[in-house]
């Protein structure tokens, strides 16, 4: 019998009363739903959570939650989040952005956030397109995807976020499909609970500029094996999958970065003494 303590919070407690501007059918609606469900499951009070984003469709998400939010400049959400977490280790910091924001303009921060391994969760809603600017190819777009900016396609191999995350030192690596609300919820719960830097790529279709992505619903499939703590195994697995393998792929054991601001401070008057001659 599944009778348990009633949770202190419901998913609705993490949702704001603002209606998203996302196109109906957008995968980001599912991500919002999964994230709020996950937060309810985690039970952290909304005021103890910060949702940080950059620029793009998915980066509109903070205001749609009932948490503290920061809608920053393009590509720098991880830096905002890192500063916040170091300054306020008591908060749950979730950085949520998109493939253009996170992997293109914010690419360098992605590498170093993985490497730094601060205890925070990075969720990238990957729709393989810049939606807010009307459909340009992003780092994860297929090489032959035709667009006004790159007629006939870019001809470039897509960026592989999971491999990069793993190689750069992320401590938790997962892929999910937005439509799988249950699995995505559970993945976010585990990502937040896992110590260190957790990276979750959520395939989140763009109905407007990538209607072809409606096939993701049937293309995605669960990872047939359990998550590993061996980065080499995880890398082999990710490198050889078809990009639609969803599930938790890697749970690392690295110690999270531990530099942080304390709750209380000593009097800075002690600091002048070194200059006295």
């Amino acid at each position: 019998m599944n009778v348990q303590q009633q949770p202190a919070f419901k998913a609705g407690d993490y949702k704001s009363d603002i209606t998203p501007i996302w196109c109906p059918g957008c995968g980001d609606f599912h991500v919002l739903l999964s994230a709020t469900k996950a937060l309810a499951e985690l039970g952290t009070p909304p005021e103890k959570i910060a949702v940080i984003s950059g620029i793009g469709c998915s980066s509109r998400i903070p205001a749609y939650t009932n948490c503290y939010g920061f809608h920053g400049v393009h590509g720098r959400s991880l830096a905002l989040g890192a500063g916040l977490k170091v300054a306020r280790p008591d908060l749950t910091v979730m950085v949520m952005s998109g493939d253009g924001d996170g992997f293109s303009i914010g690419g360098n921060h992605f590498l170093h956030a993985c490497r730094r391994n601060i205890d925070m969760t990075y969720i990238v809603m990957d729709n393989r397109v810049y939606g807010m600017t009307k459909g340009q190819p992003s780092p994860t777009t297929e090489p032959d995807w035709d667009s006004a900016l790159s007629p006939g396609g870019t001809g470039l191999s897509p960026f592989h976020p999971l491999v990069i995350a793993l190689a750069s030192g992320a401590n938790f690596v997962a892929r999910s499909f937005s439509g799988n609300i249950k699995a995505t919820t559970q993945t976010i719960v585990e990502a937040v609970r896992h110590p260190g830097f957790s990276f979750v790529e959520i395939l989140s279709p763009c109905v407007t500029f990538r209607p072809d992505e409606s096939s993701w619903k049937t293309q995605t499939h669960s990872a047939s094996v359990e998550a590993t703590d061996d980065p080499a195994r995880a890398a082999r697995r990710i490198m050889t999958d078809d990009g639609f393998n969803v599930g938790i792929l890697y749970r690392g054991k690295r110690k999270p970065y531990d530099i942080h601001v304390e709750d209380t401070f000593k009097d800075p008057a002690i600091l002048g003494e070194e200059f006295a001659v």
Binding site: V3, Q4, P24, M132, K134, G135, K182, S214
Partner: protein, 176 residues
Amino acid sequence: MTTNDNIAPISSAGELLAHAYQMELDAQERYDFLADQMETHNNTGLARLFRELSRIEGLHANDIAEQMKGMDIPEIRPVDFKFPGEESPEALDMGDMHYLMTPRQALQLALRAEQNAFAFFNHILKVTTDEEVKGFAAEFAEEEEEHVELVLRELSKYPESEERQREDLDPPVSPE
């Protein structure tokens, strides 16, 4: 349609009512959410339709709440509901939405949701051995069947032959 074959058994009337109640709340919330989306995207006809469906689900939720009074209702965490799919059966899949969708398309989605709800209760009706559970399952299945018929009646007002796919005559814009 999602299969109900793998769901864990519902073992008490209280548990079934908790599920039924949650389903109605979820459906109501989803219809409201979709109505909001349609309002944002200026598809006012559909916004009205979804709002009406939300109202109906709300009434149904109130009915179940009445029935729950005085009963022993377990408290279930959201992740522990024994629903067969990703969400509760009666909630429309948001991934199937489109801002230009027609009433007929919307009603077809609503039909699928109601059918899922019916199938859920019908499955419990078939597999349960608990008489009380059976009684409630039969009642809820019947109500969902009525909803299915209601939606079908609505659908008949929008014959496929007369359906005209809407088309966006404007290009997309960049809000940011």
